[in-house]
């Protein structure tokens, strides 16, 4: 058994999944005081009758999202990867909601999430990857991110209407850990380096 551990902590509900060869074998999500990643992982390993050593790699959502909760996931994932000597990969929240929304709609997906101080994050998932991301006022960042034509929207803003355009609501609001196992996302190169969550100052929002 060689499992992928997937951890999603970009919002108040924490998700964890274990899977093998693109199949999810265990998943759980917790809120409030029960969102303890260590307990969630122990529960999953016990359910599969597995030891931590069967974890072959670790995938974790690195945002954009809630900065404090993203750090919970990254700290746990990095610690586990260091102790087990396994690679850890960072996936963008926009890849996770974008992949599910694209599968449901067949459209390019405008991914959105709330940020601090009334601002927002936006990005475009083109069916395989996130091609552009911005941080700022929603009305400022949507026009340069959203392409012409029909576009689905996923994330924090269900009834998004911006610059005279309306978008097709995909029904996908929050990322799920399982998408890092069964989401048919582009693979990451193996790396021993720890991962760090995106912040509002990350270069990806300016490039």
């Amino acid at each position: 058994m060689r499992l992928r551990l997937a951890i999603e902590t970009s919002a108040s509900r924490y998700g964890l999944a274990l899977g093998e060869a693109c199949s999810v074998l265990f998943e759980c999500a917790e809120e409030g005081e029960r969102r303890d990643l260590s307990t969630m992982l122990r529960t999953g390993l016990n359910a599969l009758g597995a030891a931590p050593a069967v974890i072959a790699d670790i995938a974790v959502d690195i945002g954009p999202g809630s900065l404090g909760s993203l750090r919970d996931g990254a700290a746990f994932a990095n610690g586990l990867a260091y102790a087990l000597k396994r690679p850890v990969f960072g996936f963008l929240s926009f890849e996770l909601i974008g992949a599910v929304a694209h599968r449901a709609t067949g459209l390019p997906v405008l991914c959105t999430r709330r940020a601090n101080e009334g601002l927002a994050y936006a990005g475009l998932f083109d069916g395989r990857r996130v091609s552009v991301m911005r941080h700022g006022r929603l009305e400022d960042i949507v026009p340069p991110v959203a392409p012409e034509g029909r576009v689905a929207v996923a994330g924090s803003f269900r009834d998004l209407s911006c610059a005279g355009r309306t978008f097709h609501w995909s029904g996908v609001e929050a990322p799920e850990a399982r998408t890092m196992i069964d989401g048919d996302l582009a693979e990451r190169p193996a790396s021993d380096a720890p991962v760090f969550p995106l912040t509002e100052t990350s270069a990806v929002f300016r490039d």
């Binding site: 005081e33 303890d36 990643l37 260590s38 992982l41 122990r42 931590p52 900065l67 404090g68 750090r71 919970d72 996931g73 990254a74 700290a75 746990f76 994932a77 990095n78 610690g79 586990l80 260091y82 102790a83 087990l84 720890p194 760090f196 969550p197 912040t199």
Partner: protein
């Protein structure tokens, strides 16, 4: 299990990322700290969000450094001890999540330790021993507490600060005087060049065991607004003298009220040379032993967290390994 039973301590409650390996006797086998001083200096104080980000960057390199230095493999550790509070919640969470992940992967138990209990045990690092019962003065950037300890972990609080801690007052006065952050050591150094000629209050000096430093800090601000303003060195000297009068005065009252074997002074302000000198004089006068941590272990560190964890194991205390921004000294 290694022949040396070692606890890995992890401390991330504020602005230092620290790890240490400590045995039951308090011998420190390895220790490392990543300071965030440069990050926060421009803000004139600790900026919580930046502190959390820096902890995440440095925690694994710091842990890796101590394990390599002591040639210890993770699975051979006796226990992992991590500060669970009190402190900045985002900073605490980085430590707690890292520690629980390491513990799960290595199959090593993880203990969540009260940072304040860590400070109390810092006076017994590197072979030093506290003579019990003891009077304890905990003075740091976040806390000013006077307590009695009948034995390790057996604590009764006599009084605490109603507002600012003494360390916070030092830092704020340092900022008023245009000194670099953290202000404490700079205020001490400046005070050594001046004379205590400015009249400043000694809040609550004659009332019980509680403290208050907010009014004293405001009095320093008012003095600076006078015309002509006192010389900065004289104002610093007057401020330090007022703090010492209150701290030592409360210790004197407690020592006279109920005799103990020793006076223990811990926390970041315990590194203050004038406080150490004043405490030495008091203890010599009253015939009690003075116990202060080695200078290196007076400020926040992971060695004290690891040493305190042995008390938890001995007493079967296993509080949840979850971050708590507020945690009283009497909690485990």
């Amino acid at each position: 299990m290694t022949e040396r039973a070692l606890i890995l301590g992890i401390e991330t409650s504020c602005d230092d990322t620290a790890a240490a390996l400590v045995d039951r006797e308090g011998t420190v086998h390895a220790a490392a700290t990543a300071s965030q001083l440069d990050i926060h200096a421009t803000h004139g104080g600790v900026y919580p969000e930046l502190a959390s980000r820096a902890h995440l960057q440095t925690i694994l390199p710091v842990i890796d450094q101590v394990l390599r230095e002591a040639k210890v493999a993770g699975p051979d550790l006796h226990t992992i001890a991590v500060t669970r509070g009190p402190g900045l919640i985002g900073s605490l969470l980085v430590g707690v999540n890292t520690a629980t992940a390491l513990g799960l992967a290595w199959g090593v138990p993880t203990v969540g330790v009260n940072h304040l209990r860590g400070h109390l045990r810092s006076a017994e690092l590197e072979g030093r021993r506290i003579a019990y019962p003891a009077l304890v003065l905990l003075v740091s950037g976040g806390h000013t507490v006077l307590a009695r300890m009948a034995g390790p972990g057996d604590i009764a609080v006599l009084g605490a600060s109603r507002d600012d801690s003494v360390g916070e007052a030092f830092d704020k006065v340092g900022r008023m005087l245009g000194l670099p952050f953290p202000g404490g050591p700079h205020v001490d150094r400046l005070a050594a060049t001046g004379a205590a000629t400015v009249a400043l209050p000694r809040p609550l000096l004659h009332e019980g065991y509680e403290f208050s430093f907010s009014g004293l800090k405001s009095a320093v601000a008012r003095s600076l607004n006078q015309s002509p303003a006192p010389a900065p060195a004289d104002l610093a000297a007057s401020f330090v003298a007022a703090c010492l009068d209150v701290l030592i005065g409360k210790c004197r009252r407690a020592l006279l009220a109920e005799p103990v074997a020793s006076l223990v002074i811990v926390g970041g302000v315990a590194a203050s040379p004038p406080l150490r000198l004043a405490a030495e004089a008091l203890c010599a006068e009253l015939g009690v032993a003075l116990c202060v941590p080695p200078q290196r272990w007076a400020t926040d560190n992971a060695a004290m967290i690891a040493l305190a964890a042995w008390d938890y194991l001995d007493r079967g205390q296993a509080p949840p390994v979850t971050a708590q921004a507020r945690l009283p000294l009497t909690s485990w």
